[in-house]
């Protein structure tokens, strides 16, 4: 988690493959040395020393050029520096290799000079290719790592979307709400009241509007409003002394699309956390309009407000999943704002951006 910004500033971090690199270099050096010593008068160990030195120093130069200098001008690619380092290191290493294994100055003897030339030539011929191969493999590993990270992030987002849908399903078929409402219907039926069928109709409208949401990714404001109307009708019949409501929707907002249950979540939250806990109840006002490229949704209530009972602090409300759903659908463009209302209650606002592909305009 710790990133020291004073060190290297290259765009991509290079995974360190030290052990692999050096063992390969060692094997190459020794193998080459053994090969060169075949049919040569010079003892094997001399050859091996020279070749190991050449390969070793070239690998070292490659590694050093990987990290130093730390910042390069934009037009200079690091791989060029690394190749140059390898090419420069080879003759230097060969020079040292020969100096250590023969009498000095080794270039006086034509055979040694020839050998030096051959070693240097061969190394410069093959070395850069090996270096390039190593760099290509590094890049590929990095690309694979990034692809994996993207996959992981995408599947994580998919999982979050799925989770949000699951919770939506659970919220739609709340047994608590259902059984309570049915109890009220039954009470009306028992007493032979003429409002029994009215309540039943509202419940049917609610279920009909809520349940089909199971598969859809979006609905229209119009459908949402019908759902909310059914809900508020039910709640008002259940607690007539404690709930009043108004719904004001601009006609051209009716066809706008929005995530399912958006309005219902807001209204339910207002009822459950604002109106219901209040002994005297209150009023809920739903307003939907269009303004400046956005659909403006406001749900205000005159309930108990954002009281926690202990003053300021952290509060968990029922709008958690709505925020997530809005984020998944609109990114950051349709935030949910929750604040105190002048009436002492609470006010929730959502501004989803207008859907340019909305079918039809005015109802």
């Amino acid at each position: 988690m710790y990133i020291d910004s004073t060190r290297h500033t290259d765009a991509d971090p290079k995974p360190r493959t030290h052990s692999g690199r050096w063992s390969t270099a060692a094997a190459l050096g020794i193998g080459w040395g053994l090969l060169m010593s075949i049919g040569s008068g010079t003892p094997t160990y001399s050859w091996v020393l020279r070749t190991v030195l050449v390969v070793g120093l070239a690998t070292l130069a490659f590694g050093v050029a990987e990290r130093w200098p730390p910042t390069l001008p934009r037009w200079m690619a690091r791989w060029v520096i690394q190749l140059l380092a390898v090419v420069l290191a080879i003759p230097v290493a060969a020079f040292f290799g020969y100096s250590l294994t023969t009498s000095w100055p080794f270039w006086a003897q034509s055979q040694r000079l020839q050998g030096f030339g051959i070693v240097t030539f061969l190394a410069i011929l093959v070395g850069p290719w090996i270096a390039l191969g190593s760099m290509v493999r590094q890049r590929e590993a990095l690309a694979r790592h990034q692809a994996l990270a993207f996959d992981l992030e995408r599947s994580e987002l998919e999982r979050q979307a799925l989770d949000a849908r699951m919770r939506l399903l659970q919220a739609q078929v709340q047994p608590h709400f259902l059984f309570n409402t049915l109890a009220n219907v039954r009470a009306l039926v028992n007493s032979g009241s003429p409002t029994a069928p009215v309540l039943l109709d509202s419940l049917i409208a609610y279920l009909r509007a809520a349940v089909p949401r199971l598969g859809e990714p979006a609905t229209t404001i119009g459908q949402e409003v019908r759902l909310v109307e059914a809900y508020l009708e039910i709640m008002q019949m259940r607690m007539p002394d404690r709930l009043r409501y108004t719904i004001a929707v601009q006609p051209d907002a009716m066809h706008q699309r929005c995530p399912p249950m958006t309005l219902l979540s807001l209204v339910e939250n207002a009822v459950r956390h604002g109106i219901d806990p209040s002994e005297e109840g209150g009023r809920i006002d739903l307003k939907i309009g269009i303004d400046n490229g956005h659909c403006r949704i406001v749900v205000a209530d005159t309930g108990i407000g954002l009281r926690l009972g202990k003053g300021d602090g952290v509060v968990g409300t029922g709008l958690a999943t709505l925020r997530e759903r809005l984020r998944l659908t609109f990114g950051g463009r349709a935030a949910l704002r929750l604040m105190a209302d002048e009436s002492g209650g609470a006010r929730a606002e959502v501004d989803p951006p207008l859907d340019s592909t909305a079918a039809g305009s005015v109802a």
């Binding site: 990133i3 910004s5 607690m239 952290v314 509060v315 105190a340």
Partner: protein, 261 residues
């Protein structure tokens, strides 16, 4: 020999109150429902006024709940709780051997409850000591309605307005005497400041410790808002934030948190 037993019914939904009263009228004709209350407070008032033998209390009521009312009533009457479909409540009631009815109330169940109550009143058996059970009951019901700890809101004042700030929009928190300053992103992504009347110590207890980390005696930062950390001399460090110019100090005590590589 008790002449005519009395009862009160408490429920915030008027239709359900009168429905239960009618049902009792059919199944227990000798019982007189002396009062119907619309919330816990009214229930307690009605109880003190009439001192009935039985109280039917809806669990979920505004202000004073059915459980609070039952506490106030204590052992002075037989209490029957009424609840909508709620597996947790039902579990709690069964565990505590409390009388309860589930809405919509079925005639058969009500009949059984009435039978039990009649027996108890006739034998003048003392009512269950609810005190301890009620505490348990309340904790169980509270557990059901806790929201997931990850997505939460912080209630804060911005100027003269009160706003709910989603916790993941908070960049960092800084203590200011007995208050705490919140640095957050508003819906336009613009940095803003808010104030809450809680000390930093009280606030940090409520936050998710894996996302919000204390880096200094008076600063808590949201790890998601951290751009990078620069080590300084003297075992200190600076935290740089994404999209904000402020630099937050990391004190020696907390430096170890940033050493995981």
């Amino acid at each position: 020999m008790k002449a005519s037993p009395t009862a009160i019914i408490a429920d915030d939904e008027p239709l359900l109150r009168s429905d239960l009263a009618s049902a009792l009228g059919r199944l227990w004709p000798e019982l007189t429902v002396v009062s119907q209350a619309r919330n816990g407070r009214a229930a307690i008032d009605a109880f003190e006024r009439h001192l009935p033998d039985v109280c039917f209390l809806d669990v979920h009521m505004p202000g004073v709940s059915g459980i609070d009312a039952a506490r106030a009533i204590g052992r002075r009457a037989q209490v029957v709780f009424v609840t909508a479909f709620d597996q947790y409540a039902v579990e709690a009631f069964t565990q505590g051997a409390l009388d309860y009815l589930v809405k919509p109330v079925e005639a058969v169940r009500l009949q059984a409850t009435v039978h039990r109550l009649r027996e108890r009143l006739a034998s003048a058996a003392p009512s269950t000591d609810l005190a301890g059970l009620l505490d348990q009951l309340e904790t169980r019901l509270q557990r059901r309605i806790t929201t997931p700890p990850t997505l939460r809101w912080l209630r804060a004042s911005i100027g003269d307005k009160v706003r709910m700030i989603p916790v993941d929009e908070i960049d960092y928190l800084r203590s200011d005497h007995k208050y705490t300053r919140i640095a957050w992103r508003d819906d336009g992504g613009q940095p803003g400041e808010a104030l809450i009347g809680m000390s930093l110590r009280e606030v940090i207890e409520q936050f998710d410790a894996t996302q919000f980390v204390q880096i200094h005696r008076s600063v808590i930062v949201n790890l998601a808002s951290v751009s990078h950390v620069v080590r300084r001399a003297n075992e200190m460090a600076d935290v740089h934030l994404k999209g904000r110019p402020e630099i937050l100090p990391v004190s020696r005590t907390y430096l170890h948190l940033f050493r995981q590589m």
